[in-house]
């Protein structure tokens, strides 16, 4: 029973981070209808940024978030303006290939600079854990989860209560109508991509204390992000949040009850099942 | 037999919305049936149900006496019923000739024969000179003619035309009207969806009026034009020219 509770809890905690990645991806899709295959690599960039600030400036990862997040917003905005904007009207297949290419440049560029050596970021609390009634909860995971909750709530409030947030939602709902109402949809696209990038980068920063950092780490996260987004419905922020937690749970339970080496495979099989039987997502909120 | 198509109590629901509701009518061979109604009346939905794009929720569609509910569009095409699309769908990166050949290949496996058939259809719509041009580069009028040539190449018995005159200037529209009349002489049966009332009155042997998914009226052009319910349904719709 403890094992079950243990894996459920860590699954939810990790799921929070998956949710963050998924929300970023679904925002990008919602506003621009672009399928961003470089999303996991954006997470990787966030990881390296955090590691660099820690290794050379001694900044704690949760503190350096204040630098990493805005930096990632700018990075994402630049990517959008330089590369993505031009292909918004191209074939979806070409958009996909473009983002694949960008991802390749990012991951292999990092490899050139940092080599494929695994880096680790060990803080004083990296391997500490709390005890909650017989279950051990990893400290960094818990902190990450709390930060995730904070960010998700803040994002939700931003989207619902602020003018810019509502403008983003309007653009996601109907680009032409939003344009006719005076919303600068190009700026919304840049903002959406910047935010999505920042969310991915933040997820990377949050994972940095507990994960190995290497250039190719992004790949599986991209696919998982898509699983999360499809599960929750393409374009639905709420859906991505729930989807993330669900995927975290699935993976964690699969590691214990199926086989540790097969946990990702189980996630992908679940993905195929969802695509086949409920492509509009478990909540049916897809914008596709 | 002279009845080529029969719709019996066809309904189509999308969730709670009834796009088509209990629609029934018959189409006789070599007839031109006009299908009219305000926007959103369910005309294209009916075409989609008939050709197998999706199956009707209720009711029967009988083609030449055979029930075709739930058949795939390619099977319906082989049985002799084809449709054009409200928003034209050219095979953009292929040539005009190749587009029509795709249609012709429904009846033959030989590219040579398909090419001949394709050229004949292009002659009918007077586009044989454009055979080698990319379909995606054509203006709207020619795209519509191309689409007609393409479906004609499948050697249909029943042709469904969905607003084939939409977006055309008067000269182009007149060309299409003449084409439709010519096709009737060649023995084709046609169901025509149009908003152009003058054209519908000229072309149709019989008219079916849809409104909000239901069949509102049916009869000769004269009967329908004088039907007060039909007039009322169109009040508020701009009288078309």
């Amino acid at each position: 029973m403890t094992v079950f509770l243990q894996s459920t809890l860590s699954g939810i905690l990790v799921g929070g981070v998956y949710a963050l990645i998924g929300v970023g991806l679904t925002m990008i899709f919602g506003v621009m209808r672009v399928i961003n295959f470089a999303h996991g690599d954006l997470l990787m960039v966030g990881m390296y940024l955090t590691w660099g600030l820690f290794t050379w400036l001694g900044l704690d990862p949760y503190v350096s978030l204040l630098i990493t997040a805005p930096a990632m917003v700018v990075f994402g905005a630049l990517l959008q303006k330089v590369f993505i904007n031009r292909v918004l009207n191209a074939l979806p297949q070409n958009q996909i290939l473009l983002t694949i290419g960008l991802g390749l440049i990012m991951s292999n560029g990092m490899m050139l600079v940092f080599t494929s050596d695994y880096r680790i970021l060990t803080t004083s609390y990296s391997s500490s854990s709390f005890m909650l009634g017989g279950i051990s909860v990893s400290q960094p995971l818990l902190y990450s989860f709390l930060v995730t909750v904070l960010i998700t709530v803040a994002l939700f409030l931003f989207l619902q209560r602020t003018d810019t947030g509502q403008a983003i939602r309007a653009t996601a709902q109907d680009r032409e109508a939003a344009q006719l109402m005076g919303i600068n949809v190009t700026r919304m696209s840049v903002l959406a991509f910047g935010l999505g990038t920042a969310l991915a980068g933040t997820a990377g920063a949050l994972l940095a204390p507990t994960y190995y950092i290497f250039p190719q780490v992004g790949g599986p996260f991209t696919l998982k992000a898509f699983v999360v987004v499809v599960l929750g419905g393409m374009g639905s922020v709420v859906g991505a949040t729930l989807g993330g937690v669900l995927i975290g749970l699935t993976e964690s339970l699969a590691a214990v009850y199926v086989a540790s080496g097969l946990k990702e495979l189980v996630v992908y099989v679940a993905f195929l099942l969802v695509l086949l039987f409920k492509p509009s997502g478990l909540l049916g909120k897809s914008r596709m | 037999m002279s009845c080529i198509l029969e719709l019996k109590h066809v309904s189509k629901f999308f969730g709670g919305l009834a796009a088509n509701s209990d629609v029934s009518f018959e189409v006789q061979r070599e007839m031109i049936l006009g299908l009219i109604g305000p926007n959103g009346a369910g005309k294209t939905t009916l075409f989609n149900c008939m050709t197998g794009y999706y199956p009707p929720s209720k009711g029967e569609v009988n083609l030449k006496g055979v029930r075709i509910n739930g058949l795939q569009p390619n099977a319906v095409c082989r049985l002799g019923m084809v449709r054009t699309w409200q928003k034209v769908r050219p095979l953009a990166k292929m040539s005009v000739l190749d587009n029509v050949m795709v249609g012709a290949l429904a009846r033959t496996n030989s590219l040579r024969v398909a090419r001949q058939v394709a050229f004949e259809q292009l002659k009918i719509v007077r586009m044989e000179a454009k055979a080698d041009l990319l379909a995606g580069g054509l203006p709207i009028g020619e795209r519509k003619k191309l689409e007609v040539a393409r479906v004609l190449a499948t050697k249909p018995e029943l042709l469904l035309l969905d607003e084939v005159m939409g977006g055309l200037n008067p000269t182009e529209s007149e060309e299409i009207i003449q084409l439709i009349l010519e096709l009737k002489k060649l023995g084709l049966t046609q169901i025509v969806i149009e908003h152009d009332m003058k054209a519908i009155m000229r072309l149709s042997d019989r008219i079916v009026v849809l409104n909000s998914g239901e069949k509102l009226a049916e009869g000769s052009p004269q009967e329908v034009a004088n039907n007060p319910d039909v007039v009322a349904a169109y009040l508020g719709e701009a009288a078309d020219a």
Partner: protein
């Protein structure tokens, strides 16, 4: 995702496709290339050619489903790896000669493609792409985990290929030359298959499906059947390529033959060269292989006589760039998508058209009125 049929393409003549004259030219080219090993013996140069031929086979095989039928699978590593593993396992575990192993590889791949097709072909656009990636990943992870069947991450090392006994002599697979001819034969075969498909009803139907699936359906085309045929053909050739690759490089593991790099490479070859054309995969292969092999083995430039074996450029590349080929791929694909989505072939065709129009004294073509 927006009505792209509304956009006007240039009012140009459609390319007529490869004619019989082109086929003769193709055969002549193959014959000329076949003579090369009789003249040039340097192993690194022959190695380059072999890698080019394998890439041509891989790209032209993907072209069938991706370029002609328009279904962008980014999971073709599934078939490549299936071919590689089937042949290697049969040879190493059961001593079955690779020419029979190849047949079984192809069969396995076709079976696999039928299963994958039945799952993924109901999905449209990006969902299809995602599903294809997921399937390949499932196979890779499975191969890593189920060590008893596949030897997992340890991989399979080729101990030796038995000689091929013919009535006149025995062909020993030693050195580069036998693989040169084998891969040339395979590449030629796949390109020929492309040519045949393009000029038959199959080709017309594939392209109709690519251009507008619903229109194709309503014109009498059985979507499921034709998509599956395209995928089966593509999978068969991809598996054959994977098998030959395995025999040539002599060592495989799940990441080498089932990794996403393999899938991406197949797509890139076609995109960069010119998707949905016959010369496209050939051009793309030459460009990609030249770049990646030069980075991996810069010493081949020395064998060409361009630079010395220990020269500065060779040393520089070896020191810094030996694994940069994926980076170059990424840069290339970004450049191509942004500036030349029809690939190198598309660029040359536009340049050719522009040159021809400039030479003619007639009025320039008018923009089409919408």
């Amino acid at each position: 995702m927006g009505d792209r049929s509304g956009a006007l393409l240039p009012r140009a003549r459609a390319p007529r496709g490869f004619s019989l004259a082109s086929l003769v030219a193709l055969v002549a080219l193959v014959l000329v290339v076949a003579l090369i090993p009789q003249v040039i013996k340097k192993p690194l140069i022959l190695h380059m050619w072999i890698m080019v031929f394998l890439a041509v086979a891989q790209g032209a095989a993907w072209n069938l489903i991706g370029g002609y039928a328009g279904q962008y699978s980014v999971g073709h590593a599934a078939y490549f790896g299936m071919g590689a593993y089937t042949t290697m396992l049969l040879l190493e575990q059961h001593q079955i000669a690779p020419w029979f192993g190849l047949g079984l590889s192809v069969l396995n791949a076709v079976l696999l493609s039928t299963i994958i097709g039945s799952i993924t072909f109901r999905l449209r656009g990006p969902y299809f792409v995602l599903a294809s990636i997921a399937v390949a990943e499932i196979l890779r992870l499975g191969a890593l985990h189920f060590k008893d069947y596949t030897r997992g991450a340890e991989g399979i090392l080729l101990s030796g290929i038995p000689p091929l006994e013919t009535p006149w002599f025995a062909i020993r697979f030693v050195g580069k030359v036998p693989f040169y001819y084998a891969s040339l034969l395979l590449a030629g075969g796949v390109v020929l298959a492309n040519w045949i498909v393009q000029r038959t009803k199959l080709g017309y139907y594939f392209q109709a499906i690519r251009e507008d699936q619903d229109a194709a359906h309503s014109l009498g085309i059985n979507l499921t059947l034709h998509k599956n045929v395209a995928l089966a053909l593509s999978a068969a050739f991809t598996a054959a390529t994977g098998a030959l690759f395995a025999l040539y490089v002599r060592f495989i593991d799940p990441n080498i033959v089932l990794g996403i790099d393999v899938s991406v490479q197949a797509v890139l070859i076609c995109i960069i060269g010119g998707i949905g054309t016959i010369p496209g995969p050939v051009v793309g292969s030459i460009v990609l292989v030249l770049l990646s092999e030069t980075l991996r083995n810069p010493k081949w430039l020395a064998q060409l006589g361009i630079v010395g074996y220990d020269s500065a450029p060779v040393a520089f590349i070896e020191a810094h760039f030996s694994n940069a080929h994926m980076l170059i791929y990424g840069i290339l694909v970004v450049l191509v998508i942004e500036y030349a989505p029809d690939g190198i072939l598309g660029l040359s065709r536009t340049a050719w058209n522009r040159w021809r129009r400039a030479r003619r004294p007639e009025a320039p073509s008018q923009p089409s009125a919408a």
